[in-house]
Amino acid sequence: MQDIAGHSGNSHLALRFRDVGKRFRDGTLALTGVNVDVANGEFVSVVGPSGCGKSTLLRIASGLTTVTGGTVDVRADRLGYVFQDPTLLPWRSVRKNVELLAELERMPAAERRQRAAEAIKLVGLTGFERHRPRALSGGMRMRVSLARSLVLRPDLFLFDEPFGALDEISRERLNDELLQLFLANRFAALFVTHSVSEAVFLSTRVVVMSPRPGRVLGDFPIPFDYPRQPQLRFSDEFAHVAARVSRCLREPEA
């Protein structure tokens, strides 16, 4: 039996949510009966209104929070987490910021330095290694945050609305670059966003969530082949797919 998006079986899963529920200590029910699978090499976006529990899903997947119902199965060995805020340490240079996670993993210095240099090159920030975060624009800081995660070469990437605070042009540029990184490294990704067009542009599948308590309303395979050109955003087919997703998002009862 073929899964949606054409993957057969579930033997190559990176992440599986089965009937996941989350109730916080103050009684708020954030998630209820959530079923989402992310296979290796799949890029899955989650769109939903504010407060629907999208970020909670990521926190559960990363182990920062636990489920209060159902199970979560993380099959990936190495996790990368990209926060909404670049979360750079202001007292460290770009290079030292990129090296941070590797430092915490006790990677030997030479290897760490080399991987950091590669990651900095991948995100296009060569030449900025000595800069402090203060001297960087929002987009550049986000790139540093990405590079930092890339150093550990994760199998599963968790993104929490990483480009939400950027202007549209920076956002589109970073989307293009993220796609290139995805195609080069083929990690699995769970990408939370507010933006339907961003979700449709980046993903192999888009999951739509309801308002709180969050549950899955729809799971849409995206029929466009990779690599996707920036102009795809302006095509009729794209608009059509995006419209279907948006309709599901805005009319939960339908």
Binding site: L136, S137, S170
Partner: protein, 289 residues
């Protein structure tokens, strides 16, 4: 952008690089001109009071500036006394500050490690801050001595709390996502403290240093008034000159004590800018995208 955060003016002659300050000509005058004018006016008012408003037998209340300079600073013996006393007070303040920093930061780090520690210790730190130092002076005298050591203790009592509170506040200034970054990698308590919390605390810690240093100077001078044994600090000299009505030397001593406070304040401000100045941006500077 200069170290003090002033915007760099655009010049048509040569472009200024970031951080470069033009020292000659208009800019320097623009910065030091106004305070100098005020200083001159201040001297003018001083002269007015000394010569016009006071007659010669009351002039000791406010000796004219040149008399102060001549008797207090130009006379070799007086100058030596004043400078020696200044040196001693500086040493008292410095030792008091160092002890406050070591003790204060340790207490703050301890409090940051567990809620129950914070709740048990912090109230006592506050009480310490609220007890009037003057009330403790007789006790300090009985238990220690009436000289150097007790002056240092007075300094510590006055300067300790700002270090505790600013360090503690600073240790909690790392935000949740930065902590999450460390949690996701399984970082231990010490790693978190050393690589995240302490660096994040630095701006607050340095501000605490500046406040405590200025308080330590006050403490050193006040300590002098209660603990007069041993070598004279500038506070003792002030009291001595007051008792003998040697007003020129008295003014000289007061001026030196004030200058010590100003220099200390400026120095720690400079240190703060040097160490943490590059960390956080100001709204005035917009980098290229």
């Amino acid at each position: 952008m200069t170290a003090t955060g002033e915007a760099v003016e655009v010049r048509t002659r040569t472009a200024l690089r970031a951080g470069q300050v033009r020292r000659r000509g208009g800019r320097w005058l623009g910065r030091w001109g106004p305070p100098s004018i005020v200083f001159v006016l201040f001297l003018g008012v001083w002269y007015l009071f000394s010569y016009v408003l006071l007659d010669s037998d009351r002039r000791f209340l406010l000796p004219p500036p040149q008399a102060v300079v001549k008797v207090a600073f130009l006379d070799a013996d007086n100058r030596a006394d004043l400078l020696r006393a200044l040196g001693l007070s500086t040493s008292v303040a410095l030792v008091g500050l160092v002890i406050s920093i070591v003790l204060g930061m340790s207490v703050a780090v301890l409090m940051s490690q567990a809620r129950w520690i914070e709740r048990s210790v912090y109230p006592y730190a506050v009480i310490l801050q609220c007890i009037p130092t003057l009330a403790l002076v007789p006790l300090i005298g009985f238990w220690f001595d009436f000289g150097y050591n007790s002056r240092v203790i007075v300094c510590v009592l006055i300067a300790l709390f700002p270090i505790i509170s600013s360090t503690f506040f600073g240790l909690q200034s790392a935000d949740q996502e930065q902590h999450d970054l460390f949690t996701l990698r399984g970082a231990g308590r010490m790693t978190r403290l050393w690589k995240l919390q302490l660096p994040a605390a630095m701006p607050a810690v340095f501000t605490g240093f500046q406040v405590s240093a200025t308080l330590a100077v006050v403490g050193a001078i006040v300590g002098d008034f209660f603990f007069k044994q041993g070598d004279a600090g500038i506070g003792i000299l002030i009291d001595l000159y007051r008792a003998r009505l040697q007003s020129e030397q008295l003014f000289g001593a007061v001026i030196l004590a004030s200058m010590l406070g100003v220099v200390v304040f400026w120095f720690f401000g400079f240190l703060t800018r040097r160490v943490v100045g590059g960390w956080y941006g100001s709204a005035a500077y917009s980098p290229p995208p």
